[in-house]
């Protein structure tokens, strides 16, 4: 039994999915958070089933890769029940997708979500009436608080048992007549393998849907007939056939909306409008944007620095004891030092910054600030030759490069995805942010860390320009079309759950690797192997004026970026970095690590999203950028010694 959650972007599918499956899908107040499907085995009221969380899709027409993914699933014929999640406060627009889903003739339930938001807007919906017209159960819910879920699950079970399909709503008579004729031709000449209902197919063909028109052209000769049907529609209505159908569906949805709902009172004067007035203001908006990021920065550094300092002192003391306990140069000293340094790196250096960063990021996502930032930044993105929506992968890149690369699926054109994927890997991810904070902000000064972030943004912008010159693409793209969802104040519990989901990723996956890596390096040191690696890398470290011993750490950084940091303390033999490196060296090292080759997981993601060639371009490009920048930092600090 396969249950698919389908609906328009940002209607709460993933929130519903998480309350069915436990926290497994990242949610945020951002259209397009889910770009690939997540599925899980679960049981609903004792019924064992597979539940699939699909990316949001505004309609079943061809669109960006994320939407195509949703559509591919829905059309595959392998979905037994659809839960159509609908944002009740946007019912009118959402019904257009609902009408298309009904055409698939699959058992379905309508989950009327965000009832609280609809109420705030003064919209009252008669769920029973809607259910009668559509012929499917309609359940009002507020998934974010869990309200209505019990009723929803009861209905899911009964729909599964009864295999109850909904009503396909009919268009105007003249259109239905043409659809009817096309349906009978399709049934005779192009028997579909029983997967898609012929009415759905007929409507798609009349809509001139790229995918289906191509498919039918390949299959047989009736494509000319399809065109003649389209022409008939166009003659009657005087507009292109796709517009006839979409207007018709729009009208159906509007009628239905008016029938089942009433605006009982005008929306209350909403403070959110006043907030938006300033947040999206022509220039105050940019001040707020800068202020938020500056505040965010200080929040992370304030908490992280406060915790890092005493912990480093503590671990440093313990490591000192080890030496007197095991004796110099013994294997057990190297081993225990490796373990302790790996643990210390995680607790003292990574987590103090990672935790506040991830909580802050989740909060910004859930409140709904990110689409506003996209609105403000659109014009600058265009200046560097990118689509305004690219800001979304970029912002996600501050969390982790892997989802950022995957998020490029919200971009329609492969050329854009190629460029944005490469550029996002240069945005410092949480791991690299930790390095910037743990090394530069902590040992040099917070302003030096800010300078690295500013330099980073500048470099990404210039790189965007360079890449668009190296790999030119036709300017065929549409401009920005982005829904700006209402602000949400989700329960803090959800935000914390999401942060925990991401922090756990560090604790269970990255940290063990860090500890193992640290032990491994200690062993190499004991066996004297690391000298050879350092020797091989000495041209690079020499060029950048870094201690030769940091060579190995750069290799390990390819596995996990945090490793560079942990290994650094291991390679140098102390967490008090400044006793063995100058501030300039720390700065050069951090700049290099921030920009150079993405970690393995990111390279794999790049490979999958933009191909082998793209992954190679990313590796070579970031490596050259890192070397140039680190060298420039070295020269600059040589001429202007700031400390």
């Amino acid at each position: 039994m396969r249950i698919a959650l389908a609906g328009q972007p940002n209607c709460g599918k993933s929130t519903l999915f998480n309350s069915i499956a436990g926290y497994k899908a990242i949610t945020s107040n951002f259209p397009g958070t889910t770009v690939k499907y997540t599925e899980t085995k679960t049981h609903i009221n004792g019924l064992i089933c597979t539940c699939i969380d699909l990316p949001g899709t505004y309609s079943l027409t061809s669109g960006d890769p994320a939407e195509l993914e949703a559509r591919r699933h829905l059309l595959s014929g392998e979905v037994d029940v659809i839960i159509n999640v609908v944002d009740a406060s946007l019912l009118c627009r959402s019904l257009e997708l609902t009408l298309q889903l009904l055409e698939l003739e699959v058992p379905m339930i309508l989950c009327l979500n965000m009832m609280d938001e609809a109420q705030r807007k003064g919209i009252q919906i008669d769920a029973q009436k809607l259910s009668n017209v559509l012929g499917i159960p309609v359940v009002p819910t507020i998934t974010i608080t869990g309200k209505g879920l019990k009723e929803l699950f009861i209905e899911v079970v009964s729909v599964i048992e009864e295999k109850k399909k909904g009503q396909v709503l009919k268009f105007s008579k003249d259109i239905e007549a043409i659809i009817g004729e096309l349906v009978s031709i399709l049934q005779m000449e192009w028997p579909v393998e029983g997967k898609l209902p012929s009415r759905f197919l007929a409507v798609k063909l009349l809509e001139n849907d790229e995918f289906f028109v191509k498919e039918i052209k390949e299959a047989d000769h009736s494509s000319n007939q399809v065109r003649s049907f389209q022409e008939r529609l166009e003659q009657i209505h005087g507009v292109p056939s796709d517009e006839v159908i979409s207007s018709e569906r729009h009208a159906l949805a509007m009628n239905l909306f008016e029938k089942v709902s009433a605006v009982i009172h005008p929306p209350k004067k909403d403070v959110r409008i006043t907030i938006d007035h300033w947040v999206m203001h022509k220039w105050v908006g940019y001040l707020i944007l800068a202020g938020i990021f500056y505040g965010f920065f200080n929040f992370i550094f304030g908490i992280g620095g406060y915790i890092e300092e005493p912990l480093i002192g503590l671990f440093e003391g313990w490591i000192g004891h080890l030496e007197s306990f095991f004796g110099k140069d013994s294997l057990s000293l190297f081993l225990s030092k490796g373990v302790l340094q790996g643990i210390a790196g995680g607790i003292a250096i990574v987590l103090p910054y990672l935790v506040p960063f991830l909580i802050g990021l989740s909060l910004l996502e859930d409140i709904g600030y990110l689409p506003r930032a996209a609105f403000l930044m659109d014009v600058f993105m265009h200046r560097i030759g990118l689509h305004g929506k690219s800001i979304i992968p970029f912002i996600l890149g501050y969390g982790c490069s892997v989802p950022a690369v995957m998020a490029t699926r919200i971009l329609e054109f492969p050329q854009h995805r190629f460029m944005v994927s490469i550029l996002t890997t240069m945005i410092p991810c949480a791991a690299r942010i930790t390095i910037i904070f743990g090394l530069v902000a902590f040992f040099i000064s917070p302003n030096a860390a800010l300078a690295i972030f500013a330099l980073n943004i500048l470099v990404v912008a210039v790189s965007g320009k360079i890449l668009s010159l190296l790999f030119p693409y036709p300017e065929a793209s549409l401009g920005l079309i982005l829904e700006i969802p209402a602000y949400q104040l989700p329960p803090l519990r959800n935000t914390l759950k999401k942060s925990w989901y991401r922090i756990r990723e560090f604790i269970v996956i990255a940290w063990p690797i860090l500890i193992l890596g640290s032990v491994f390096l200690a062993l190499m040191e004991y066996a004297g192997v690391e000298r050879h690696i350092n020797w091989a890398l000495s041209p690079l470290t020499h060029l950048l004026g870094l201690p030769t011993s940091v060579g190995t750490t750069l290799i390990f950084g390819l596995l996990r970026k945090e490793l560079s940091l942990i290994m650094l303390t291991q390679a140098l033999g102390t967490t008090q970095v400044l006793t063995v490196m100058t501030k300039t060296q720390v700065m050069v090292f951090t700049v290099f690590v921030t920009f150079y080759i993405p970690c393995l997981a990111t390279i794999a993601a790049l490979w999958k999203e933009i191909g082998k060639k793209g992954a190679w371009v990313a590796v070579l490009f970031t490596l050259s950028v890192a070397i140039i920048l680190a060298l420039m930092t070295r020269i600059f600090l040589g001429i202007f010694p700031l400390w």
Partner: protein, 76 residues
């Protein structure tokens, strides 16, 4: 008649036509923008940045290029 990017902030306009082919019609249609719909222009971004509009009680940001393809009739 004018285009959407020419309408002043806080004014309403009725969509008359969407120019520029099936793709753009589709994209705008998905957002609930069809001929006959009423759009409120909420604000303009700085430096020819996007336009924020309200349509069927949802807010949508549109690039200027797209907005210039939407033919509208300003309402009094």
């Amino acid at each position: 008649m004018t285009t959407l990017d020419q309408v002043y902030e806080n004014k309403k306009a009725t969509v008359i036509d969407i120019q520029g082919g099936q793709r753009i019609r589709q994209r705008l249609g998905q957002m609930g923008i069809h001929p006959g719909d009423i759009i409120t222009i909420l604000r303009y971004g700085a430096l020819r940045g996007p336009i924020l509009i309200e349509i069927h009680s949802s807010q949508v940001a549109l690039g200027r290029g797209i907005a210039s393809k939407v033919i509208v009739e300003e309402m009094e």
